[in-house]
């Protein structure tokens, strides 16, 4: 008898929880039609940022390469043509690749970057059908226009 009463009480209590949440706004979103906002400091896909005049910030110093704990970055530097420079200074990154399959999104590359060139943006939709498609090349990483990444490259410089 006591046992059955307890069971009824438990059912009522459980339905109470349902009832409590029934009239609240749902936390689920209709992904991918709707996208949940991320935190301001969320670390998503990388961008190579540009100066306002369109020059690349990256000088190919490879500090991100050496700091990367999962060794997912490859950089090959080259010398700027003084008449058509890619970056300010003598050196620029001729090739810049990040293997998104290896990246653990720790953000150390951003920390190490002396020019604020590499930032982790807010995109998290990183998937692909082949391994090759997840090696992001310089073209894919470089901002299409200054400020595309949505991050402030000056935050700590």
């Amino acid at each position: 008898m006591v046992r059955q009463l307890r069971q009824v009480w438990a059912t009522v209590k459980g339905l109470g929880v349902v009832g409590r949440y029934l009239f609240r706004r749902p936390v689920t979103v209709r992904y991918p039609d709707a996208k949940p906002p991320v935190q301001r400091r969320y670390k998503g896909r990388h961008y190579l940022t540009l100066f306002a005049d369109g020059m690349e910030r990256c000088v190919g110093c490879e500090l991100c390469v050496i700091v990367c704990p999962s060794q997912s970055i490859f950089v090959r530097a080259a010398e700027n043509d003084p008449l058509a420079p890619h970056s300010k200074g003598e050196r620029y990154a001729a090739d810049f690749q990040i293997n998104m399959l290896r990246c653990i999104f720790c953000g150390f590359c951003e920390e190490a970057c002396p020019t604020g060139a590499i930032v982790l943006g807010h995109d998290y939709e990183l998937s692909g059908y082949t391994r090759e498609s997840l090696i992001y090349t310089k073209d894919m990483l470089t901002e299409k226009y200054p400020g595309e990444s949505g991050r402030d490259p000056h935050r700590e410089l």
């Binding site: 000088v59 110093c61 530097a77 010398e79 003598e90 050196r91 002396p114």
Partner: protein, 827 residues
């Protein structure tokens, strides 16, 4: 320098206290060295242990009791009962102040600086520096970077004026390549008028620069120190065999750096060693075997190419097979070559001395140094005969320079004035062909006047040089290719013996051979020698070899390169097997080679590139370069060193050893070889003392060896009116097979030229830089004129080693040639 000083007896020790620790060091040691020897680190920038202290950077300040101010430990000699402190607050403050001041004008552009990651200024700033600067004003500004020639990039903004590079040029290399200009705040390192730097050792200044002021143009931005895998290797160029470290990033050879080897190159390297590595990654490398089909070379499989070689070898009698080359392979490759051709094929026609038409028997004039390279600096007098030391064996020059600094006189005899002539006490610039008379006059065998008449060198200078040499108890005589590459070489050798005897039995070094020719010589890639410098004529030596090989060794001496070419012309030699050599460009008579080639039935070439020889071959086999295989090589002093594989070869290229093993199987006598170590060990069974690091010195000829033609008087070369006697010399920077594919070497070599004396130039209407035609009875070349007072009157100097204009076209294997130089209009 204390490192060179003999160990002091206890009486000469001084006792001091450093950081509370009692320390005993030999008298004369500086406080910095005493601290260093006891594991206490004092930071420095300007001090370098291969050069005397200077005290310019003030980084090494220490506190010494009873001294009112801090003292620079690198210049302070350790004294008895001195009490030194290196870790006090005062010292630390001083270090921070010095670094803050050094960084006032340093641009801190580490992210774009090639030194970043291996920079003493970075390291010291991190360990001893203040962490932040109070300097907010504008920094000193220069043009950001200046290219000082094909290899050096100068960035004066980064310079901290430690003077290491300037002092290297003054003290170590003696070429004064870089100098300090202006004073005080405006001080800068430069060359006069910012001209391209002229040095053969400038790579070393990049190594010792404590900041990124001097960086390499070939390594520029290619890699970071943490990208590089390091592999030990040995420089493949001149015969010195300097120890190097290869830096590899992925599949790229990014740079070569010197590896410390006190017995060979110390910590230095010449610029050919520094910048002569890029040929390895050249896209022109051969990637697949080539076989002549329908008159043209076409790609083939290994099976087809080797099948063809094996057929040619099988269908030819052993005496009609010849092998030349071997100086660019490892000892293990060369040993298997011997096993294949001496043992399996059964021929003694083997010779690695491709670049000479006058080979002297090795038993009488072995190539190489009879003393260790490190002993050169201990000689009391040095005679250089026909040897352009900085062009041929630059690392030896650094040893000779040390001997000169100790007070040893340098005597130079040659047909042109070498770059180091300004360091010589006596310069005897003579006519070509007058070497023997000049040397006999130096030795006192003939009167100085007679020597002067025969050689064209002034009698006074000969007498003075002879007196200088007689006063030196331990002289060293070094003879080079220019003195010995002539028909009268036996007379020159006899005169050299006479000179050595007159110099209290001075050792005689014959400075010839490049790459691994030291190894080829000790292994006996020679028509009359067996491994270990044993003559072929010695039956017991032949038996010892036969016992290891399990096959008899043919006893009849073979032919030299010249003999093989003569035999080919007479159709006595049918198959010629060339291993890593380019006789079409390098044998000193191009026409003789062409005629010989026409007489050959089959020409097989192991090569990296499609050289002139390879273009004419029937079978071209692509092989691995020095950085692509592990093995050992031996240098001119006979020192055996190991080089490791750093890269994979291009395409299907194979090592020489693999090819020999495959051929042996096809000929029905497989060589059981599993690894290079096994071959190395087998060589050890044949050559006593064979080990890594061991030195197997070339034998000194016995006293009774006797030279032919001693005492025959020498005369000047007869030549037509207006013609000039041609002398061909080697240049460090040339455009040969390998160097032409290295931008750093190629760029420094410049275009091929012919140098004539100003008087001859005036007579012939030649001006500097003018194009001209140089014609000899054998052929003609178009070269640029260089008017140079260093060449003897009546002579024309042309460099070897330019494959686009090989001087061998003009040369004649039968004797010296006279050339006419005709201007081809204004430049």
């Amino acid at each position: 320098m204390s490192s060179e000083r003999a160990p002091a007896s206890p009486a000469q020790m001084v006792h001091l206290t450093i950081d509370g620790r009692p320390v005993a060091v030999p008298k004369g040691t500086t406080v910095w060295q005493a601290a260093r020897q006891n594991g206490i680190e004092v930071p420095v920038f300007c001090y370098h242990d291969r050069m005397p202290p200077l005290g310019a950077c003030r980084m090494c300040l220490v506190e010494v009791e009873k001294m009112p101010k801090l003292a620079t430990s690198c210049t302070l000699e350790a004294g008895e009962d001195m009490v030194v402190r290196t870790q006090t607050d005062r010292v630390r403050q001083a270090q921070q102040a010095i670094l803050e001041l050094l960084l006032v004008n340093h641009p801190l552009d580490c992210p774009i600086c090639d030194k970043g990651g291996e920079c003493p200024l970075q390291d010291n700033t991190l360990r001893f520096g203040p962490g932040q600067s109070r300097f907010v004003e504008t920094k000193r500004q220069f043009r950001k970077h200046v290219r000082m020639g094909p290899v050096l990039v100068l960035d004066r903004e980064r310079c901290i004026l430690c003077w290491r590079c300037v002092r290297f040029g003054e003290i170590v290399a003696g070429d004064d390549a870089l100098k300090g200009f202006e004073r005080g705040y405006h001080s800068q390192i430069a060359t006069p008028a910012m001209e391209p730097v002229r040095s053969k050792f400038i790579g070393n200044t990049m190594e010792i620069c404590p900041v990124g002021a001097l960086t390499s143009a070939t390594y520029r931005f290619r890699s970071r120190p943490w990208d590089n895998r390091t592999v030990q290797s040995v420089c493949p160029h001149c015969g010195c065999g300097c120890a190097t470290t290869l830096n590899v990033r992925g599949a790229d050879l990014t740079r070569t750096r010197p590896r410390e080897h006190p017995e060979v190159n110390d910590i230095w390297l010449c610029d050919k060693g520094f910048f002569g590595y890029e040929f390895v990654g050249s896209p022109e490398r051969l990637r697949a075997p080539l076989v002549r089909r329908d008159g043209a070379l076409r790609e083939a499989t290994w099976d087809e190419a080797l099948g063809r070689v094996a057929d040619a070898l099988r269908s030819t009698s052993p005496e009609a097979v010849g092998v030349i080359g071997g100086a660019r392979s490892t000892n293990e490759d060369d040993y298997l070559l011997l096993r294949l051709f001496r043992g399996v094929v059964g021929t003694n026609n083997i010779d690695f001395r491709v670049e000479t038409a006058y080979p002297q028997p090795t038993s009488r004039a072995a190539w190489g140094l009879p003393v260790a390279i490190a002993d050169v600096e201990r000689a009391d007098a040095i005679v250089l005969v026909g040897c352009d030391l900085t062009e041929e064996y630059p690392i030896l020059w650094l040893r000779v320079k040390k001997a000169i600094d100790r007070g040893a006189p340098l005597v130079i005899a040659g047909a042109w004035e070498p770059e180091v002539a300004r360091w010589a006490q006596h310069r005897l610039i003579h006519r070509r062909g007058g070497e023997a008379a000049l040397l006999r006059a130096l030795a006192g065998g003939v009167r100085a006047e007679d020597g002067a008449a025969a050689s064209g060198a002034p009698a006074e200078a000969i007498r003075a040089a002879a007196d200088t040499l007689r006063a030196a108890p331990r002289a060293l005589v070094l003879a080079g290719e220019a003195a010995l590459e002539q028909p009268g070489a036996e007379r020159v050798l006899a005169a050299l013996d006479e000179l050595c005897a007159a110099c209290h039995g001075a050792p005689l070094g014959i400075l010839r051979g490049r790459g691994n020719s030291g190894g080829a010589q000790v292994l006996g890639l020679l028509p009359d020698m067996l491994p270990g410098y044993r003559p072929l004529g010695d039956p017991s030596a032949r038996e010892a070899v036969a016992a290891v090989w399990g096959r008899p060794v043919p006893s009849a001496p073979g032919r030299t390169v010249r003999g093989m070419l003569e035999a080919a012309r007479a159709a006595d030699l049918e198959v010629l097997y060339v291993v890593g050599a380019d006789p079409a460009s390098d044998y000193p008579d191009a026409r003789a080679w062409e005629e010989a080639r026409r007489g050959l039935r089959c020409l097989v070439v192991h090569e990296l590139f499609l050289t002139r020889t390879a273009e004419a071959a029937d079978v071209v086999l692509p092989v691995l370069a020095y950085a692509e295989k592990t093995g050992t090589v031996a240098n001119i002093e006979g020192r055996v060193q190991r080089q490791d594989q750093a890269l994979l070869g291009p395409g299907v290229a194979r090592s020489d050893a693999e090819i020999f093993v495959d051929l042996a199987s096809r000929l029905g006598s497989p060589l059981a070889v599993a690894s290079w170590e096994q071959v190395f060990a087998e060589i050890g069974r044949m050559i006593p003392g064979w080990a890594e690091g061991a030195r197997l010195a070339p034998p000194r000829p016995g006293a009774g060896a006797g030279r032919d033609g001693a005492g025959i008087p020498d005369g000047p070369l007869p030549r037509p009116e207006g013609a000039l006697a041609l002398v061909a010399g080697r240049r460090l920077f040339d455009r040969g097979t390998m160097a032409a594919r290295c931008p750093g070497v190629r760029g420094q070599a410049g275009e091929p030229f012919v140098a004539v004396h100003p008087e001859d130039a005036a007579r012939l209407g030649l001006r500097d830089g003018m194009p001209c035609e140089v014609r000899s009875p054998r052929g003609a070349l178009r070269l640029a004129v260089r008017v140079w007072a260093g060449v003897h009157r009546g002579h024309a100097y042309a460099p070897r080693g330019y494959d686009s204009a090989p001087v061998s076209v003009l040369l004649d294997e039968r004797g010296p040639v006279a050339v006419t130089v005709r201007p081809l209009g204004a430049p």
